[in-house]
């Protein structure tokens, strides 16, 4: 692993109406970005239960990104507001237990923001590379 470049694995929960379309636009616009993200399309960022994020981490994801519509633009009007609170709580729980909350990111990306999707993915991938692999992987008895 030492001489090979470290390619983190990031799980991305993308909302159907905004961020998934934004990711799609980034792709069809042929924007270049690191291939670190495995996208999971969800109907809304508020569909993502914190348990899913913890699951991803405990199964070895190096980073988790949740992306939804900008505040005020939610297809269901207020899903992303609830999501923001839920993830604020998750982040607080992870912070209290020192479980590397910095491996988690919540971002708003609209359907027209292909370049922003690229920017978020690039930035987050770099950030995770800086953190190194998820230490969970060294545990054998989770």
């Amino acid at each position: 692993m030492a001489d090979k470049e470290y390619n983190p694995k990031i799980v991305g929960f993308l909302c159907n109406w905004c961020s998934y379309a934004g990711a799609d636009l980034a792709g069809s616009s042929k924007l270049k970005m690191p291939p670190a993200i495995s996208s999971i399309r969800v109907m809304c960022s508020s569909r993502v239960d914190p348990v899913l994020i913890v699951t991803a981490f405990l199964r070895g994801a190096d980073g988790v990104l949740v992306a939804g519509c900008h505040p005020g633009d939610c297809h269901y009007e207020k899903g992303n507001y609830y999501a923001r609170r839920r993830f604020a709580l998750l982040r607080k729980v992870m912070e209290t237990l020192d479980l590397e909350p910095e491996r988690f990111r919540l971002s708003w990306i609209s359907a027209s923001e292909g370049p922003r999707f690229k920017e978020v993915v690039t930035e987050f991938t770099e950030h995770i590379k800086g953190l190194g692999p998820n230490p969970v992987k060294e545990k054998t008895s989770l």
């Binding site: 239960d49 913890v54 507001y81 020192d98 930035e123 950030h127 989770l142």
Partner: protein
């Protein structure tokens, strides 16, 4: 924060006596409420015939109170919030019921009300100063010794014999501020700083005042007994708050970080008792009991392949952290989870640590008010910017949009 000396100054209280001990006096008061028709039934802990437990019992016959009614039992085998919830789950209680509980149980009841699991319409909430309870397993092993130990606990009011979460409980009494901002309750029974045989009845709602009026008890604003209670309660609250902070710092050093957390929950046998007895874990079907976490063999084999091995049953930490991310905002630090743990994992101590930090972050106190929504059930359009795009900080694009 208001000056602690001033806290509780606008409260009114009525002294009540008649029993040989304060707890006997409480029973005397309860009997009178039944006799005068204030309530149709009382929900309170009653000593089981074997003397080894104190379940909640719905009492209509005041004779039962005579020898077995236990307003302050040495253990908490069932969280009172759960008892009220099963009484009113299908709608309001058909008749007027007064429930006598410890403060943490009242708070859990209020949380369950907000979660639509309790109907308060015909429920009159009575709380009582609580010195803590003994670990349920210790008591069950030797009830006689337990009763003696609890006698000491009552005398000293705060003893190392009570459960660890009880030792650092700083919300063991009624709200001391005038507006009752600490807890929703109709009537509180004060025992602290009061001579044995006497109790202090403090109304916190119009319904509470009504009941006292019906019994010809006139609560007074001043008086030695009220100030004695208030001073003792304030002093102890402060002391416990300090102990709580100290104990939580110590606990932090034991559980923080993946390794420590794994070590703490290493003994877990996945019985999920902690979740089942938790008053605020109200889901009929917990995600962690559902088919969603029963994975096909392939999944386990793949994980074992990826990691070299996999523990069975897996996902212990997922269960604990998942539960914290679901219900820590409503956690009342009652300690029932720890009582129920067959492996003596300090579940409640870890949970109350996480809960305290989460509740402080959201400026929320469970049980404080029926109007204040649980933070996850509401939102503000502009808030929590720190979680957007964190950890990198907002990108320029987002900043412009916010501006």
């Amino acid at each position: 924060m208001s000056d602690p000396k001033k806290e509780g100054e606008g409260l009114k209280g009525a002294a009540f006596s008649g029993g040989k001990s304060s707890l006997e006096t409480v029973l005397g008061f309860l009997k009178r409420t039944l006799a005068e028709g204030c309530f149709d039934a009382l929900l309170l802990p009653v000593k089981a015939p074997g003397g080894d437990s104190f379940p909640y019992v719905l009492v209509q016959d005041k004779a039962l109170l005579e020898d077995r009614g236990s307003p302050l039992p040495p253990i908490m085998p069932v969280q009172g919030g759960k008892a009220v919830s099963s009484l009113t789950r299908r709608g309001k209680a058909p008749r007027k019921v007064a429930a006598l509980m410890r403060p943490c149980e009242v708070r859990a009841t209020i949380e369950l009300f907000k979660l639509a699991q309790v109907d308060l319409e015909n429920i009159f909430l009575i709380s009582i100063d609580c010195p803590g309870v003994l670990p349920v397993k210790d008591f069950a092993a030797d009830p006689e010794k337990g009763m003696a130990a609890f006698g000491e606990v009552l005398e000293k009011w705060g003893d190392r014999k009570v459960r660890p979460v009880c030792q650092i409980c700083h919300r063991f009494t009624a709200p001391l501020s005038d507006d009752g901002a600490g807890m929703v309750v109709d009537l509180h029974i004060g025992l602290l700083g009061i001579e044995d045989g006497e109790v202090l009845l403090i109304p916190y709602s119009p319904a509470g005042e009504e009941i006292l009026a019906k019994l010809d008890l006139v609560p007074a604003a001043g008086g030695d007994i009220l100030s004695a209670w208030r001073d003792r309660a304030n002093e102890l609250t402060k002391k416990r708050g300090e102990e709580r902070r100290r104990a939580q710092e110590e606990m932090k050093s034991k559980v923080r970080g993946l390794n420590n957390l794994l070590e703490t929950f290493d003994k877990c046998i996945n019985c999920h008792n902690c979740m089942r007895v938790c008053p605020v874990c109200y889901c009929r079907l917990c995600y962690f009991d559902s088919e969603a976490v029963k994975h096909p063999p392939d999944d386990y084999l793949r994980r074992a392949g990826d990691w070299g091995s996999i523990r069975f049953l897996p996902d212990t930490i997922l269960f604990q952290v998942g539960r914290m991310s679901h219900m820590s905002l409503s956690c009342v630090s009652c300690g029932t989870c720890e009582d129920a743990c067959p492996m003596d994992i300090p579940v409640a101590q870890v949970f109350s640590l996480v809960a305290d930090e989460a509740q402080e972050y959201f400026g929320y106190l469970p049980g404080r008010s029926t109007d204040e929504p649980i933070p996850l059930a509401t939102y503000k359009e502009e808030e929590l910017e720190e979680v957007e795009d964190a950890p990198q900080g907002a990108s320029s694009e987002t900043k412009e949009k916010d501006g």
